[in-house]
């Protein structure tokens, strides 16, 4: 960082002469130290997973969850400063609730990502605030079936005019990642935090673009990728936290829920076996 000391990194919202905003770049550094978080967009659902580094043996196992639920159908996991992530989730919940207030329906994942992107970007504009120290992964399932309006009591007229197109495809999985700059893209597989490079390499091997990976396979892969990404910081203890959102006919019925203990443990066994297998292959090559 040759530009340190030039003075352009001291205040938020100030550009350097070569067009960079240093405060935002420093926020990205905060993210790069956080536990790895990933999201996988499968054909029938979305998986979120995070490597939760255990900072003290005095913490209760399984407590201090890092993946949060927004509305019923969206989950958010972030890497970076935990309190910033909490505030981010709180804002997401407010946005989802205000969307319901206006439209009497759940917020589409894309719309939520858009509003959150706008919110995070606003924190790069003013000298009185600092940018978010988190990169967040937003995963959701938009209902594929005809959804009743909130508070609907009847089904309306059975005859007469109507502008509804029957059989039009609707809903499906959504996965977005929002960076401290406010930049967000939709992803097939997203990774952030300390082990993101290794995680991205593994995600790219999965052929997610063809839309063939099922949710149950996605859960196993997510666990494996978190274990792979943890290899570089092996000295630290960690807990794997995973959540999922399935299609309406899947295991969570379109809701965002924690992956049940048995399924998570099965995925962890699969992850450990896969890692051991890799080690053996390396030894064989040697």
């Amino acid at each position: 960082m040759t530009s340190i000391g030039t003075g352009y990194d001291l205040s938020n919202s100030v550009f350097s002469p070569d067009g960079r905003n240093f405060q935002v770049e420093y926020a990205v550094k905060a993210v790069e130290n956080g536990g790895t978080a990933i999201g996988i967009r499968c054909k029938d659902g979305v998986v979120l997973a995070v490597e939760k580094i255990i900072t003290s043996k005095l913490l209760k196992p399984g407590s201090n969850k890092r993946i949060a639920t927004v509305d019923r159908h969206v989950g958010i996991v972030s890497a970076g400063l935990v309190p910033d992530g909490r505030h981010f989730v709180s804002r997401a919940r407010d946005e989802a609730s205000s969307w319901r207030g206006t439209y009497k329906a759940p917020i589409p994942t894309s719309a939520l990502a858009n509003r959150l992107g706008g919110y995070v970007q606003a924190y790069t504009l003013y000298s009185s605030v600092r940018p978010f120290g988190v990169t967040s992964i937003v995963g959701g399932w938009d209902c594929e079936a005809e959804l009743a309006v909130d508070g609907q009591v009847g089904s309306g007229p059975k005859s007469g005019s109507g502008g509804k197109v029957e059989g039009a495809p609707a809903g499906g999985p959504g996965l977005y990642m929002i960076e401290p700059s406010g930049l967000y893209w939709g992803y097939y597989g997203a990774a952030t935090g300390k082990g993101r490079q290794a995680a991205k390499a593994e995600l790219e091997k999965l052929d997610l673009t063809s839309g063939k990976l099922s949710l149950s396979e996605g859960v196993k892969e997510a666990a494996r990728i978190i274990y792979v990404a943890h290899e570089d910081s092996k000295d630290k203890e960690f807990e794997l936290e995973m959540s999922w959102i399935s299609s309406l006919d899947g295991p969570t019925n379109g809701r965002h829920e924690e992956v049940p203990k048995e399924i998570r443990e099965e995925a962890e066994r699969f992850a450990k076996r896969a890692l051991e297998g890799e080690d053996e292959e390396e030894q064989m090559e040697e």
Partner: protein, 260 residues
Amino acid sequence: MDHFPGTWGRPRNDVYGAYDPTYLQTTGPKTHTSSPAVTGTSVIGVKFNGGVVLATDNLASYGSLARFTDVKRLRVFGDNAVVGFGGDVSDMQYIDRLLESIDIRENYSTHGNMLNAKNLHTYLAKVFYKRRSEFNPLWNHVLVAGFDVDGKPFLSSADLLGTTFSAPHLATGFGAHLAVPILRRRFPEEMPIEEITREEAVSALKDCLKVLFYRDARSIDKYSIAVITKEGIDLKEDEQIEGQSWAFAERIRGYGRQTN
């Protein structure tokens, strides 16, 4: 020909007399929130061994007009609580959305929605009381059914004033006059609810619905019924009152062949 468009379409002064402008109130309190517009009639409920049954018909009336005939007045909250709504339908929709938002908030925590029917009833009664104290009541009378903290069947009512009342069987609206006596005869006070089976409770409510359809002019023969047990909620929303007999009506003046 009247050449003044401003007077067209108005009652003629020479026929009806001049219009009395005192009918046009421009001051005074807002009153349209203090009376219901589109209403649902009775809600009835019975506790039985291991659960509660709740039933309403599917009608929303606009005054005496049977305006909406497929209205779902039993609303599910969480895993095992149901609210049956009588009274104003738009206020019901407001409360339904309110409860929906509470359910969403409860699910943010890892253990999910832990609120039971008793918590829900306490909350609703307080909402009703607050609103009536603001002279802006939610015009409903509800029955809340489910379980209490100890897992025992729970059935209680709350009304637009915030009044609460609890009994092994309850009914709102017209049902309070017509269904409660039937239920009391079927399930006397000294009979513990452990002796009432699910089938007995359901059949008693069906009989009550039939009597209500016979005698309550704001009712319809399509109904919803919810059976709440530990296993979950069995909600049927498109039922039909079976075995009607209108023979008795022949003797009612103003109904059959009799005209005076």
